[in-house]
Symmetry: C2
Subunit: 602 residues, 2 copies
């Protein structure tokens, strides 16, 4: 009913290039010449596994040379980078795909994407027999595509029957000991590798797997170790289109690989994979429509790797200080005044996105700029998508430097990054569950500079409670007789969410915490100590309790019941008026603080 | 006092590679052989113009081949891409820097970074005489570096005196009409170009300029048209290091260019530029320490272009509905109830970062997923850093489709993107100044589905005002005598920020808006109609007025002065108690709404 504009766009591209019928299908082996030349499919698969496909996107064809970077990646995994680089270069040859292009002294193929290099890579892949190598390769390709692929037996037979030039190349590689055994099993495995059947949807998903660090985004299965993905993409970028590679990079700017089966695989690193299938080839052996469509997609969709609009998204999502945000720990008047005064010595940052060098560098600058004028730095990592080693190194260096100067730099909501940071040498003290507890810790640090021995937590006489401001001694005495006394021991529930709300609580001594249960524990909404009131909102609007209140240590409360409060209407309206005024004043203060926080967050 | 960990890191790299003294200084001309071989500088310049430099980062040397991509960019600007591509290829040659590498049929140099291609590019640069060409080139390079560069006259003289091979190349280019005039002025301009003096700080800033779309980030001056930046970076990526380019891309993954003067320029597209200076060269003519340092920086700082940790940052920063956020227009009880009921038909999104295909695609999916079940879509663009053509195309397609179905898709805070979107065919109705007004528009659209003829705006009798809930007829009559009547005409100030706050306002008829002045106009904080109260917060806590209140159309108010309110203590405490209870109830409602919004924003 509501068509996707992305599919609409792909359809329009397909319709436009449907008429392009230049080129000829590959005919160097009889089986390839049998493909239907007008088949045409386009597919884009995103890094998170969403697939957009039009035309003959599920029509099978043989993978041919598109297999080469994948087998190269497999060789890297099986033998390690040093062993592979010793046998196969990574320089573009400037030559055609079937040129032998071996280095003069060593006989090493110039790169893994010309036939010589691809056969050498196949030789390096684990497996002693044709079957072992072939199964190993087919399994790997199937993990990339996210489904069980198979070999086109007729194409394979035809490849093997006519692959004389590749046999010559293989024996030349044997001559130079690039292949160290009889090359025949490697050659047959190579012919089978080239005859694996794929669709352009498969190619797009293979591309998305490379874009996704080697994990197929639909199945979640790893197809190649993350450490080799950049190597595979690099050889595709410099050598992927043979002697058309430079021009391809110039115009399209994407690592890519074509095959004479009519497929093209292109990758926007970190973002998406593209598969195009159209069997008519140009003189260089690349799909004519495939080249044209990829160039158009790259231009229209702005996929060019060197597009200057690419940029690091600022890592700092939010930057504020204790002047605007506060822990949920309510403070006494004196403590609150001091914190207001020194509020900008406590800083809170929310980071986001990919923390890489380019995005952490401004964070480093920001932290260092306040190194002299602030004492506490809290860095929230909840919206961070990735932290690379460079970013970890910088944050660790700053934490070490700050700790040495008696400053605090801690991280909150590190959940998915916690283990990584611990493994990188961060101590556990560097982490707080959430901003609230880190803010409280920072506030306590600032308060300790002024009030020794936690003097800011002194007990408040009942008459000095904010709720009772302005009452005369006589009124206070009258009221105290109406208040119920209740005692709770540490951890005991004072209020339970869902309860009726007919009581207002005043803490005479001790502390209490308001919290709601969450998936991974509880979230603290408020925390009170002596002299403070809680439960006002539900008391005022008669809604059920929305959160739990728990005693922190032993607590002594006074409780004003709705019944007692109502009795004041008649018995002591002046007291009632004063209480309501104080209640309204408290609500106003909370509303102003909420508005300050809203202003910061917006 | 607080050293930057980034400088610390660069110092550690410099110290580590100081000991590496392999290679020899260039000696093909006498002047180059005179450089001090142990000089060593490293510099990183970020896209936003922050510079980190260590060692001999300000020591001058001649730019040599690092000039080639810059002159190529200048040729693209002066002659256009088609004319330049007709004369100079973009394929890596696989050959050494001084190989002639002309294409057999046309004589076109294989690429602009071998000497033949660089001389051809110099020939294409505007200017008929040596002086004109040289000045044009020097000016362009100076814009890249952000300071006035000059030519090392002795190196130039030496280059010119010994440049016989380049003369041979130039005459060969003349033979193929790649150079169309006497090649001598071009050659001399080329020798001067290679003799321009730079520092490795200059190289880093040249790189940062390319990373920044062609604009020097320190001076803000454009050095090259944005449309050619990707072309320059593409030839650096495929051909920048001669026959070492493939290996360089494999290990370092950054477009780069080296020069025999000892400089290397590398670029992380969209992010930063690197300059390294160390004159000892390897057999391929690249700085030995330069190669080693760049490889180390790329690995340590995760700069590799194909690093799979690169990814699009999610564009959706916030996704919510009218259930959690509301316009500042306060609604009558019936209207508020209806909006609560249908709240998820009005959706608000905040987008962020770079809107490119990979990041807009999930936005497209989200909008289409709610196309059937929602009517109003508001998209806030305040945190967007860049919108590319692909993203604009997708948003335009969805807006057109939605409008055709009677749905609304509008953009807020588009400021920096407004002109771009208008130019791309968006109509002015697609834009609202901020979320508040767009939300009100969307709410009105939802209300109109239920209440015809704006029936949700009916006048409320004074006795039905929320503030007076629960008063008896007699009490109401008593109170009305205490209330002052005030009338305002449209646009008139009712309250001015900074005023004393001794009055509480009730709207009998008409509307009013609370706002604060901002840099670009005003921000609406609240809007009221008949039956609503305003001015409570300052009335309760005695603070001065924090915002302006203005009449919307003619307004009839009732005003409760602090004096009258105080008189109730004695004269009618029951009324006072009821008013305070209603006031507290109103404050509680506002606080709950603020907490809902805070929960969404966190």
């Amino acid at each position: 009913m509501f068509p996707s504009p992305i599919l609409d766009y792909l359809e329009s591209v397909r319709a436009r290039y449907q008429a392009l019928s230049d080129g000829n299908v590959a005919d160097y082996i009889p089986e390839l010449a049998r493909v239907e030349p007008d088949r045409f499919g386009i597919c884009i698969a995103t890094r998170d596994g969403h697939v957009y496909e039009v035309g003959d996107s599920r029509h099978p064809f043989t993978i041919q040379s598109v297999s080469k970077p994948l087998t190269y990646g497999l060789a890297l995994e099986d033998k390690g980078e040093a062993a592979v680089l010793a046998k196969i270069g990574v320089e573009p040859s400037g030559d055609a795909f079937n040129a032998i292009s071996l280095k003069a002294q060593t006989g090493a193929p110039r790169n893994p994407l010309i036939n010589a290099g691809a056969i050498a890579a196949c030789g390096l892949v684990a497996g002693a027999t044709v079957e072992q190598k072939s199964t190993h390769i087919l399994d790997a390709f199937s993990r990339y595509a996210g489904r069980a692929l198979d070999v086109d037996a007729r194409v394979y037979a035809s490849e093997s029957a006519t692959g004389h030039r590749n046999r010559a190349i293989a024996w030349m590689l044997r001559n130079f000991s690039i292949l160290e055994e009889d090359p025949t099993p490697t050659l047959e495995a190579y012919f089978r590798q080239c005859s694996i059947r794929v669709t352009c949807r498969d190619l797009a998903l293979i591309g998305a797997t490379l874009a996704n660090g080697g994990v197929n985004p639909v199945t979640g299965t790893r197809a190649i170790g993350e450490e080799y993905v950049d190597n595979v993409l690099a050889v595709m970028a410099t050598c992927g289109m043979y002697d058309f590679s430079g021009e391809w990079m110039y115009h399209t700017g994407l690592p890519a690989k074509s095959g004479v089966g009519g497929g093209i695989l292109a990758v926007e690193p970190g973002r998406l994979g593209i598969g195009v299938f159209s069997p008519r080839l140009d003189a260089q052996g690349n799909s004519v429509r495939g080249i044209a469509v990829c160039r158009e997609l790259a231009a229209d969709l702005g996929l060019h790797l060197f597009d200057p609009s690419q940029r690091a998204v600022p890592a700092i999502r939010l930057s504020t200080t204790r002047r605007s945000v506060a822990s949920k720990r309510r403070r006494s008047h004196a403590a609150a005044e001091h914190l207001r005064h020194v509020g900008n010595r406590l800083r809170l940052y929310h980071l986001q996105g990919v923390l890489e060098f380019a995005s952490i560098e401004p964070v480093v600058r920001e932290l260092m700029a306040h190194a002299a004028d602030s004492d506490c730095f809290i860095v929230n990592l909840r919206m961070v998508q990735h932290i690379d080693r460079a970013a970890i190194r910088m944050l660790a260096a700053i934490r070490t430097q700050f700790l040495g100067r008696g400053k605090m730099l801690v991280f909150t909501e590190a959940s998915s990054w916690w283990q990584r940071l611990i493994d990188s040498g961060f101590d556990r003290d560097a982490f707080f569950a959430d901003d609230d507890f880190a803010l409280e810790y920072g506030e306590d640090m600032l308060l300790a500079q002024r009030f020794p021995d936690r003097g800011w937590e002194a007990k408040v006489p009942l008459a000095n409670c904010a709720l009772f401001t302005g009452l005369t001694g006589e009124q206070m005495a009258f009221l105290e007789r109406l208040l119920e006394r209740r005692s709770y021991h540490g951890g005991q529930a004072i209020i339970t969410a869902g309860d009726k709300s007919d009581e207002l609580f005043i803490i005479a001594e001790g502390g209490a915490m308001v919290s709601i249960p969450t998936l991974d524990g509880i979230t603290r909404l408020d925390a009170f100590t002596s002299g403070m009131t809680f439960g006002e909102l539900a008391f005022v609007d008669h809604s059920p309790r929305s959160a739990n209140v728990t005693a922190i240590g032993d607590v002594e409360c006074r409780v004003l019941t709705r019944e007692a409060f109502a009795s004041l209407d008649r018995d002591a309206p002046a007291i009632k008026i004063r209480l309501l005024e104080n209640l309204a004043l408290g609500l106003t203060g909370m509303l102003r603080q909420a508005n300050r926080e809203l202003a910061v967050l917006k």
